[in-house]
Symmetry: C2
Subunit: 572 residues, 2 copies
């Protein structure tokens, strides 16, 4: 699909004059974003020893794919004009670094260099889904930025760039540039389990094979899905400090030891799910922008730590604060070269409610948090989308406002299937917090073959709902949804006794389910479908297209797999 898009793109081309036909609304949006990031221009300053040479990139991991899609869309709009590609490989002017550097705003034009060529990407800025982030490369070289996100290292990204070429960098400046060696900011990332299916290496994003996922009720940490937005920071536990800000008592600073000893240790079992889990099914309808997750960007673990509520109370939270504060913001220690950290926020009432169970977790499955999961401290916001469960937690801010991070404001939101990149208004949708009811089939795999002689088929999977809403039923169909059977639910390991239901609204963990049913006599193929129901009797939607959205999040339609029945016995 992607390749087909590439081919159609190469048949098109665009004159400079057409580049100025960017939709005004999008352009003004980019200007607004630009002005809000004025304070972040100091991107060439070093931020600590391990970052000294890393002019690291600033795009979200999916940036190039997003940009590519939007670019492609614009290119399609130009289709009627049928202009020919203009090759700009020779006879182009030579620019000095100083000239390039003078173009670092929409007003002055946005120029960048890449491998000795100079590009005027002014018109591309509005098409870049990260908006302001791309401007941080303005006037400089792209290479160190792209080093952070391997997803840029694809042919079609270079194709897009080539159209914006306006000249070449002077030989002298090119030589200078090449002496600034960029190191790999991901070089200190931890080793990962080889069984993981990798969706993105840098930043690391991977999921376990589905059939392993539901082998155990508690997912082993090594195969728990990984969703990093930036390189894994190396944090020294001795010098680690957590800062709690925004409360009347001033800033509360806690060492790891203080967090562990001053507050009661609380343990919960909670399932985390990426907003993009099952995105690949949306891609099958129409290409979306984001990592191509299968059905396993979800896992279940026990988490231990201090309750966020207890820490906020110790830091001065009280009824007076609730009169003006509405959100609790989190900042990670994972950051890009400008010092911009990963960030998000949750509603205040989730944070302070006795029944919210939000943890500042320092243990996962009974051990110190692994590096990939936020060592030494992460937030666990049970019932809430993974993106709010900030890892490598550095700062907590009680605020009247949501986090203004990219991931809170311009990502992780749901839109109508009719909304496209031309019409999307990120302010019009709420940040995803609680997730909707979800389930999927982990066994058998799509395309599997079952033998007629076995007489039965066993179907297994998981089911979970956000907001602490317990899964109360999973329906399974072998005939594409015409008839349904009720699966057996399980909320503990196979050998363990069933656990009692948690209190209402505090069912944070998934249920595994299983159904063994006779093979239908006539069928040669089964379309196995599952759908789950939670305590609020929320149901999954039947099909993907009506919930398709441009970011491919919230993919929770019925899950379907097809299996063939092999007639392995002579009949009669």
């Amino acid at each position: 699909m992607l390749l087909r898009c590439c081919h159609s793109l190469t048949r098109l081309g665009r004159l400079n004059t057409q580049r100025h036909q960017v939709a005004p609304a999008v352009a003004s949006c980019a200007v607004r974003l630009w002005s809000s990031s004025e304070g972040q221009r100091s991107y060439q300053r070093a931020h600590g020893p391990s970052w000294r040479h890393a002019l690291a990139g600033l795009l979200a991991g999916t940036g190039a794919v997003l940009a590519y899609g939007l670019h492609h869309h614009k290119a399609e709009q130009a289709d009627t004009i049928k202009v020919q590609t203009i090759e700009k490989t020779s006879a182009l002017p030579v620019f000095t670094q100083e000239e390039v550097t003078s173009h670092r705003s929409l007003e002055d034009g946005v120029w960048v260099t890449y491998k000795g060529a100079v590009y005027d990407i002014t018109d591309f800025v509005a098409m870049h889904p990260g908006g302001d982030k791309i401007l941080l490369a303005a006037g400089g070289d792209l290479e160190p930025f792209w080093a952070l996100y391997a997803v840029h290292n694809q042919e079609h990204v270079l194709e897009i760039l080539s159209e914006y070429k306006v000249g070449v960098l002077s030989a002298e400046d090119l030589k200078k540039q090449q002496t600034v060696k960029s190191s790999d900011p991901y070089s200190s990332d931890p080793k990962r389990h080889p069984v993981l299916r990798i969706n993105s290496q840098k930043p690391f994003n991977a999921e376990p094979p589905p059939e392993l996922l539901t082998d155990s009720y508690i997912t082993p940490s090594a195969i728990f899905f990984k969703r990093n937005h930036l390189p894994v920071p190396q944090v020294d536990p001795a010098s680690y400090r957590l800062h709690v800000e925004g409360l009347p008592g001033g800033v509360l600073t806690l060492s790891l030891e203080e967090l562990k000893t001053r507050f009661p240790k609380h343990t919960i079992t909670a399932t985390l799910q990426c907003a993009g889990n099952r995105r690949s099914e949306m891609n099958q309808v129409k290409q979306v922008k984001g990592l191509n997750w299968g059905i396993a960007a979800i896992s279940n673990a026990t988490w231990s730590g201090a309750r966020l509520r207890d820490v906020l109370l110790a830091a001065g939270y009280g009824p007076d604060v609730a009169k003006w504060a509405c959100h609790v913001q989190f900042e990670g220690l994972d950051k890009d070269v400008t010092g911009t950290t990963y960030g998000s926020s949750i509603p205040l009432n989730k944070a302070v409610n006795e029944e919210g169970d939000v943890l500042l977790a320092y243990e996962m499955n009974g051990e110190d948090l692994p590096a990939d999961h936020g060592y030494p401290v992460r937030v666990v916001v049970p019932g809430t989308v993974g993106a709010r469960n900030v890892k490598w937690l550095g700062k907590i801010i009680v605020s009247a406002e949501e986090s203004n991070s990219h991931w809170q404001q311009n990502d992780y939101k749901g839109f109508s299937p009719g909304t496209d990149w031309d019409t999307v208004d990120f302010k019009s949708a709420p940040a995803i917090q609680e997730l909707p009811i979800q389930s999927a089939i982990t066994t058998p795999a799509d395309g599997a073959v079952v033998n007629r002689s076995g007489e039965e088929v066993t179907v297994k999977g998981y089911a979970w709902s956000g907001g602490g809403r317990e899964v109360v039923r999973v329906d399974v169909s072998l005939d594409g949804g015409k008839t349904w059977q009720v699966a057996q639910l399980r909320s503990s390991e196979k050998e363990q006794a069933p656990k009692p239901s948690p209190p209402p609204g505090r069912a944070w963990a998934w249920k595994l389910w299983e159904l063994t049913a006779p093979l239908p006599a006539e069928a040669q193929e089964l379309e196995i479908v599952c759908k789950a129901v939670d305590t609020s009797y929320n149901m999954q939607p039947d099909t993907v297209p009506p919930i398709w959205n441009l970011r491919g999040v919230l993919s929770n339609a019925w899950h379907r797999v097809k299996v063939k029945i092999r007639e392995d016995e002579s009949e009669g």
Copy 2:
């Protein structure tokens, strides 16, 4: 559909010997239910002056319909035997009332009389969805029981009964029976607005016309949907007492005046919805058991009263209580002749949570509660199914257990589409509390005609979700769900300024929505569809059959109406 069923039924018939083939599981269930209602045998005692002569019925309002359906199902099972109806109109034995009265248990047989005939309904008991309730008529006459539920007064109910005829009552006993005149327990029900569409007169169940429903953001009390399970009790406000039980401080008794003056008056705007709203759409798939509600068993009002939380605290609620209590039960003052009151319960945490907003309401839309809505006091449990919002509130009981009422235990629960009356286990499903995301189109009506010359079509409707989850988007399709547009949402009256969003988890009121879109050029007919999304990004399921359930509750698939486009202009 119902008529067709009747016809097929009259072609069938059943020998006495076949009646004993009731599924053992169902029969044992009935035995269990019977033993649990042993303590309620005193049904012939009078319960106060207005009830003296009313040997009133005990079935849920839908009892006859349910019984009919189950009976029909059993009859279908006997289809292969093709037995002929045996007429039992003559040459039947004569029984005395004493003989009839001696058959009042499953062990001794269950006999009843009706208009001078004697019936052995032993085998029918297991098919009666009310289970134990029918046994309260055992050994006596059906007529006063049926007087309470006009739904029994239908031909097919008599057809069912006729098959169980075993004899006639002695002339002497019949004469005695006729001297006990049954009065109409509904004679003191209030007058209702003539615009209401009545689904059941006794008890009164009615909904407003859809196009009126969304005319106003606050539904006028007169057309607010009515859902009564029993006759409307006449309550004297001066002698009214509310009893709060189960707390360490003993019973707290409050007069209406005390309720109004001892506790702060709290006002919320909350939408109530019947679990059976839109049941008629499930009936179109396959007949379910229950009142045939359209799309307007939902309405929105302001409610004022004391917070339940405050009253519970005054009655001695504290952290120690939370260690053993899990539920708050409510008993209405509406009761049948045995003194069994309408009852239900909600989870304790909803009742005591500061953000639960559960009210003991004494005002609706700024005035005293109307008689049909619970005068003088009702519970308003915002975000929760109508059935838990107990009217004419008499008693509150803090308990470790759910209400053991019929309506909590054996009704108002959701099941898989594959579950039928033979396999249903009411204990396997949770009582409905929070309701799932819902929306419907109120204008245009299904089958309406729009003129091509108007060039546009305006679609209006409502959207609401349970659990305080705010509606964040409504998608509307004019082509059956292929393409979607986003509707405008409104959370106040038309002339009023928009209201700010409520705090997370406390959006108790619906949103009205509207979309005006150009008429598609080619279309001769539109299939208009709506679907809503709440803050947890729950979506409505696409179609009805996969959420069909035997009680026809939780009907929240996309709502669809078809309209024709009239070409009223010459073209060109």
